[in-house]
Symmetry: C2
Subunit: 364 residues, 2 copies
């Protein structure tokens, strides 16, 4: 099928671009000596996760037991949950997967560790539990090396669990390189302190799991890092472009839209709004706009209604006719794909594959 | 089932509150002499749309043919599409529903009218096409009374179509009452001008369709209004509360969440972020925060990751323990429900019904 036959709005994945991105990250991780455990939150598609494994990823990362269940059913057999689980229902749902799948988790509280260990012990599973440390993002994670050691030692004492290593998320590092350079020693000092204290306490640190797409290719500069969990690298988006982490040519995902109104002077309306793109704002660069219009670099995607995309064409020489189709690089690819039940894998102008976003809507 | 048995995050609909909201709007419309044609974008649930019809709504409004198809399959037999359709594929999908369902549409271009009329004529259907006028929101709509008359006259000449009336969306009126009072005469002047010009041109205006939830209860002050299309009124949300259009007690939807981390001082993390609530920002009041925590009015829901809700508890005396459950009124109920495959209708602490959000994901 030709792209022209697709109804709009539709999410397209350029397979050539995606495969190049996958190859590039696999090559980097091999050269840097870090394992790759991609976060599937970005795409939620088992077929795409299997492509990541086929290119050398050691396993995947997910946030929710319900997502993990979809991935396990899709043949993924090594799943790390990078999210604190404190409820029995969730722990039991997750450990039910351990019959077919290697499961590991991270926690930042003894309560979470106990909850997970109980569910593991009931299945005679010895669950690797990593300790999350806060390296400056201020979201989750033990606040000191001492707290990390206390938690790791407590995990080692739980039936059904073992201390699996350290985990952190440098969510505050999606910033210009100069600021990254200032943050990196702070992050490394925190990792180093926890690592050393654990080793000194007789708790060897098997895994140090960090990373994100913006920091992935600086992995070699992080202390003790053994694996990274980037999500966006196969697809990329406007946040990464405007932050200097990718180019538009690296963005595999575009949203195919149609011009549906040009009644208002110097404006055109596209048939995709916040329920197509999400309303996630640009986190980098000038923080303006809701997507990049590939056909017209001078168009400003300035507003979103639920089903309308508002484009300001006052600075553009482009002529827009009703029915014209435009391809838009979204601000945040994870949020955009999460709006859709299916995406279209394309090569050139041909649709090669339709992927169901099978783990979408698995919020629990 | 008790609410306590639900996994989190889950979207709850308080049925007592919803039924009171439904009754109140039906009573208002009856007293004001305007027909009620609710927009189903807010809930996307056929069962809820049928409750609106059972309480006197004359039909429903939808944005997309794919949504309309779900609603038609769910027994809704009078559907207005308040969205410009310019593609043959969409027009044919919509008119296919005309075998069982009264279909009407609005347009702001001759191209859209022609596209829809062709699909209607092929089915020997005479499609009521309303002309959208721009009353100041600047999104879609004819820009002058003359443009509206030209379009209406052209519609009357199309086989398969007839001029069905005027449609407008006062999307710019979700503002404090004083600003509304300044905007209302401008809106009325635009409606009046188009209405008079149409009548003078021998084109009687059968329907004047306007309205939105914030303006619904001022319908009697709009010139020539015959029907309104509010979406949010059965459920309400924090935007409406902070704008002074509803109270927290009028909000039927809450998101049930769990505290999953309290490792960072003066912060707690909930198990719902932008993929649970959406990242739609507060459009009214102080424009701050991502939801109202019902259990703690002093908690500030200041940040969203994809699966984490970030709560600042520094101004609060409330004690948060891991595993605590909190109910949050979302900023934008339409966007929140759109994130979920199902919602739970509750009465008190009992789950009475599970509704599939059947028209969710019908982006085309």
């Amino acid at each position: 099928m030709n792209i022209g036959e697709l109804d709009t709005p539709s999410v397209l994945v350029d397979l050539d671009v995606m495969e190049r991105n996958l190859d590039r990250m696999s090559a980097y991780c091999a050269s840097a000596g870090v394992a790759l455990r991609p976060h599937i939150k970005t795409h939620k598609i088992p077929e795409l996760a299997r492509k990541q494994i086929a290119r050398g990823a050691v396993g995947i990362t997910a946030a929710k037991p319900s997502e993990a269940a979809v991935m396990a059913a899709g043949g993924l057999d090594d799943i790390f949950i990078a999210y604190p689980i404190v409820a029995r229902q969730k722990a039991e749902a997750l450990l039910a997967l351990s019959e077919t799948t290697r499961i590991s988790v991270s926690v930042d509280s003894l309560e979470a560790a106990e909850c997970l260990a109980r569910a593991a012990a009931a299945r005679s599973y010895r669950l690797p539990i990593l300790v999350e440390i806060d390296v400056g993002f201020g979201r989750c994670g033990a606040q000191s090396a001492e707290a990390a050691v206390r938690l790791a030692a407590a995990i080692e004492r739980l039936a059904g669990a073992r201390f699996g290593g350290l985990m952190f998320y440098p969510g505050h590092m999606m910033v210009p390189v100069q600021q990254q350079n200032e943050l990196l020693p702070v992050v490394n000092a925190k990792v180093e302190a926890a690592y050393s204290a654990l080793v000194a306490a007789g708790l060897p640190v098997e895994v140090v799991s960090g990373g994100s797409t913006p920091m992935a290719t600086r992995s070699a500069e992080f202390s003790h890092l053994t694996e990274i969990r980037p999500g966006m690298y196969p697809l990329n988006d406007r946040n990464l472009v405007c932050g200097g982490f990718a180019t538009l040519a690296d963005c595999a995902v575009t949203v195919l839209t149609t011009v549906v109104s040009n009644a208002v002077p110097e404006r055109v309306i596209l048939d995709g709004g916040s329920k197509t793109f999400s309303s996630d704002r640009l986190l980098t660069g000038d923080h303006l706009g809701h997507g990049a219009v590939l056909e017209d670099a001078d168009a400003l995607f300035y507003g979103l209604s639920e089903e309308h995309g508002h484009i300001d064409t006052s600075g553009s020489g482009h002529t827009y006719r009703l029915g014209d189709r435009l391809r838009i690089v979204p601000n945040h690819v994870c949020a955009t794909i999460n709006m859709h039940d299916a995406v279209y894998g394309v090569r050139g102008d041909q649709v090669e594959v339709v992927w169901q976003v099978a783990a979408r809507g698995r919020v629990q």
